[in-house]
């Protein structure tokens, strides 16, 4: 691995990214760190979405459904049964992987718009269920608050969320560099050709889904125990869904760094717009920016930066 110069270049990039995350609190205020924490969670969710939808081309509109299963499981266990977090968090992740599989696996047999619509229905179904089915357990419309948090304070939470985001990103990056990752990408381009090359696409899609659900579960449980509260409208929400989707698409789908870039760009943009446009009109601004970027460069910010870097290098050589 290290003997390959191309690989060495990437590993140096990852090391620099890690060091930058470590040193960032030295120059950032507590407020900026809190925005950063939120961006880390959006990046985790966007990577989770991307490994399923960006890679295989099965566009999921139901990702908050997966995040919500993990978040609600852990929240209910800690709230009602006082389960310690080191039990409730893995249980939440397992619940997402098992529960999500029960719903998503049959849906993976359908393609395109139908898959997107079915997954959207899952999210809406979960929204309704958490409100009407045993509100004494789920907290109903108001949700649950006063949940235990893993850590307190901006700095510890910054390090925790950054470490989790970094480890997930690095592991996914390693995964997509394997032949398994190549096969997942091939599904989005021509699933029938993958089948006729001897690969079992159902198993491949299930694998992509399980990885996606695992990442969504980890993100969802940590997110709820960072916030200390959960409500149906905070999770099973169309704005939350679009923030995840646009982060992945704006940054550059089918890449690892793209969803991270998109998440940070969107989160900081929304936060910096808040003093000037405090209402939901902010979403109009980010929607417009996303649209412009997507029209100009469908491969996203990641590709724009890559092209600029390429041009810079060529300019230096000339």
């Amino acid at each position: 691995m290290l003997s390959d110069p191309g690989m060495r270049k990437y590993l140096v990039g990852w090391a620099l990214f890690g060091v930058a995350l470590l040193l960032f609190p030295q120059v950032a205020t507590s407020g900026t760190l809190r925005i950063f924490i939120f961006a880390n969670f959006i990046a985790i969710f966007a990577m989770s979405w991307d490994i399923l939808s960006g890679r295989t081309g099965y566009i999921s509109f139901g990702h908050p459904f997966l995040i919500g299963i993990a978040a609600y499981t852990s929240a209910m266990l800690t709230y009602h049964l006082q389960t310690p977090l080191y039990f409730s968090i893995p249980l939440g992740v397992i619940a997402t992987m098992v529960g999500g599989t029960l719903f998503f696996l049959p849906a993976l047999r359908i393609r395109g718009t139908y898959f997107a619509l079915v997954t959207l229905a899952f999210m809406e179904l979960m929204y309704q269920l958490t409100q009407v089915m045993r509100p004494d357990i789920t907290g109903g419309t108001r949700g649950l608050s006063g949940l235990p948090t893993l850590l307190t304070g901006a700095l510890p939470n910054y390090y925790l969320s950054s470490a989790v985001m970094f480890v997930i990103a690095f592991c996914l990056w390693l995964l997509i560099r394997t032949r398994l990752g190549t096969a997942l990408s091939a599904i989005s381009m021509d699933e029938d050709a993958v089948k006729s090359s001897g690969l079992d696409t159902t198993k491949l899609k299930l694998f992509a889904f399980m990885v996606s659900a695992f990442v969504a579960g980890v993100g969802g449980t940590l997110y709820v125990h960072y916030l200390g509260s959960i409500a149906p409208r905070a999770i099973f929400d169309i704005n939350f869904l679009f923030t995840i989707l646009i982060a992945a698409l704006l940054g550059g789908a089918s890449t690892i760094i793209g969803p991270i870039m998109g998440a940070f760009f969107l989160t900081f943009l929304l936060e910096y717009l808040r003093p000037y446009i405090p209402g939901t009109e902010r979403y109009f601004i980010y929607g417009s920016i996303a649209l412009i970027v997507y029209v100009l460069e469908p491969k996203g910010l990641h590709h724009i930066i890559q092209r600029l870097y390429g041009a810079l290098m060529r300019g230096k050589q000339a």
């Binding site: 032949r179 096969a183 091939a186 381009m189 021509d190 006729s196 001897g198 690969l199």
Partner: protein, 234 residues
């Protein structure tokens, strides 16, 4: 014993039947061509052998019934499939496209890659080029190469010359002949280009509107009035 035995094969797209009781045997080590016009059912026949379409009847490969078996199992059994050149992964490089074909034959990746690059040297020079940016001929070579990466005993090739320049057709024919002569690989091609099929295959089957109309060696069919009228306008 025939390597591939097809008996009374019918294929369906929903309720529409597109193959009507096709029966044919493919002997090992031969190059066989299925010829016919657009819509004759040539691609459907190959898809049916691969298990991609809904079928009835029987398809035996190496003596084993494989009809309705998944494409993944059919490839594992030793059937390589090169669909029309549009079925590549356009945003992936040549080598990655080839490696997608290598899943069922992981212990022979280097050996098979060498064979493909020896057969089509241009692919070795363009390993990282995205196939979406390649010429039609090169894409056809990648498609054939990807099928060869599965270490097949039987290679199915769907319309290898469609839309290609005559020079490229000759190159493809030479590569397929070389494969057949040097490795004894059994090859089934579908073609509309009857001249190409006759120059390459030892045996021809004429498929029209989902039915086999004629079968025979090249010598036998060359003199057939029907072939002359239908394909050469004589």
């Amino acid at each position: 014993m025939a390597l591939l035995e097809i008996s009374n094969l019918e294929a369906f797209y929903g309720k529409a039947r597109s193959l009507h009781g096709v029966s044919l045997n493919i002997e090992p080590g031969k190059i066989v061509a299925i010829i016919g016009p657009n819509g004759a059912g040539k691609s459907t026949l190959l898809d049916s052998i691969m298990g991609i379409t809904t079928t009835t009847g029987s398809v035996k490969f190496d003596g084993q019934e494989i009809r309705a078996q998944s494409p993944a199992l059919n490839v594992k059994a030793g059937i390589g499939y090169a669909p029309e050149r549009g079925n590549l992964f356009p945003f992936m490089g040549v080598k990655d496209n080839l490696l997608v074909g290598a899943y069922t034959s992981r212990d022979k990746i280097d050996e098979n890659l060498r064979m493909v690059f020896d057969l089509f040297p241009v692919l070795e020079q363009r390993q990282t080029q995205e196939t979406g940016t390649q010429s039609g001929g090169e894409r056809q070579m990648v498609s054939l190469g990807r099928a060869l990466m599965t270490s097949p005993k039987l290679l199915l090739v769907d319309e290898p010359t469609i839309g290609l320049a005559p020079k490229v057709c000759l190159d493809i024919a030479a590569a397929l002949k070389k494969l057949n002569e040097e490795t004894g690989l059994t090859i089934v091609i579908t073609e509309q280009n009857v001249n190409f099929a006759m120059s390459l295959a030892q045996e021809l089957h004429v498929l029209e509107t989902g039915e086999l109309r004629l079968s025979g060696t090249v010598d036998e069919l060359q003199g057939e009035d029907y072939i002359k009228q239908a394909y050469f306008g004589a």
